[in-house]
């Protein structure tokens, strides 16, 4: 196995869970998240030699994942995501325990956010440093703080609304 393969395996093992979580938070669907994860790491492998250590490798991968998720949603062939997420979550709710039900409600609430807000909040939930989120999303850190505050409020509101129903 050559150096590139070993490096790729290390990168995949270190980052795949977080990226999958990001994709899952974005789509609310395991299969779609899995597809997005694979597409992301395919791009990572194909462009690994271009990575020049200007940023953290995790930041670089997040950026690829975020773009992959956005392209996925904008693809005209896709089904409307909210509808899909609702269906999946509603079908599953009955089988879930109380804790899992709360998680399902959380994903449902995330799915109601704007697509960019969805991605930003999943990175916040994963506790990525603000400067990294700013780098990935291309928003200045000052603006990002304001935006994150607003998204947090919105998400909490949505979560509470769904929890009451």
């Amino acid at each position: 196995m050559d150096q590139k393969d070993i490096l790729f395996k290390q990168i995949f093992d270190t980052n795949s869970k977080k990226i999958f979580h990001l994709c899952y938070g974005y789509t609310g669907d395991t299969d779609a998240a899995n597809d997005l994860l694979q597409e992301t790491f395919l791009k990572v492998w194909q462009n690994l030699d271009k990575f020049r250590n200007k940023s953290l490798i995790s930041t670089w991968i997040y950026r690829i994942a975020v773009n992959t998720c956005l392209t996925y949603l904008r693809s005209e062939k896709r089904q409307a995501k909210d509808e899909l997420t609702d269906n999946i979550i509603e079908n599953r709710v009955e089988e879930l325990s109380e804790k899992n039900e709360q998680v399902a409600l959380l994903y449902k609430s995330i799915s109601k956010l704007e697509e960019n807000d969805r991605l930003i909040i999943t990175m916040v939930l994963d506790e990525l440093p603000y400067n990294e989120i700013a780098d990935i999303s291309g928003i200045s850190e000052g603006n990002l703080r304001v935006k994150i505050h607003r998204i947090k409020q919105k998400l909490t509101e949505l979560y509470n609304q769904h929890a009451r129903i």
Binding site: D5, F8, K9, F12, D13, S16, K17, F20, H21, Y24, G25, T30, A33, N34, L37, Q38, F41, L42, K43, W45, Q46, N47, L48, D49, K50, W60, R63, I64, N67, T71, K99, Q102, V103, L106, V124, L125, D126, E127, K152, L155, T156, Y159, N160
Partner: protein, 198 residues
Amino acid sequence: MQEFEHIQSLWQSHSVEVKISSEEMLAQAKKEVNSIRIKSLFNIAGMVVSFIAFSSLLAFFDFNSWTTPLGIGIIILAVAIYTLILYKDHRLISRNDFTVHPGDFLQELKAYQLRHFNLHNRLYWFYAVAISLGFILYFYEMLNNLDTWIQVLIILFTVFWMIFCATILRKAYMKREKERIDLLIERFKRISEQLQEH
């Protein structure tokens, strides 16, 4: 933000399971990039086998009529030229790694598509005419001692096979190849653009 902290702890407590291993992912990534090269290599290997088969006919058998070695010679020449063109096309896509020179690779993939299209259009007809001429000369002696109905059957089958290859098979192959390479170009373009944005 007491409630957001609850949301955050929920998110972090939810463990996700990645369905694919790094080995599978690596294998898939390599397969995507290499499949077109491997297919092109198989094409070349097939042509080389034909070249060896026809050459061994010339090397190991004696023929009474001058038409037979001439026919086989024409077939060998056509196969050799076609193989060389295929090899040149193959070098176009194999000398650059997408991960190292994405721009060059994309250009060469486009050039490969164009050359491949020419090869199966204009050049294909030269190839088909040469092969047909070769077979006519070859059959002149080889079919001489057979019954008439077998001669007719072999000639009909050869004509039918040549027409089938030149029409239905060639068109289907070209359509599939075009779609496949278009998809690859589109995908590589998208990845390149995305990385330039970074």
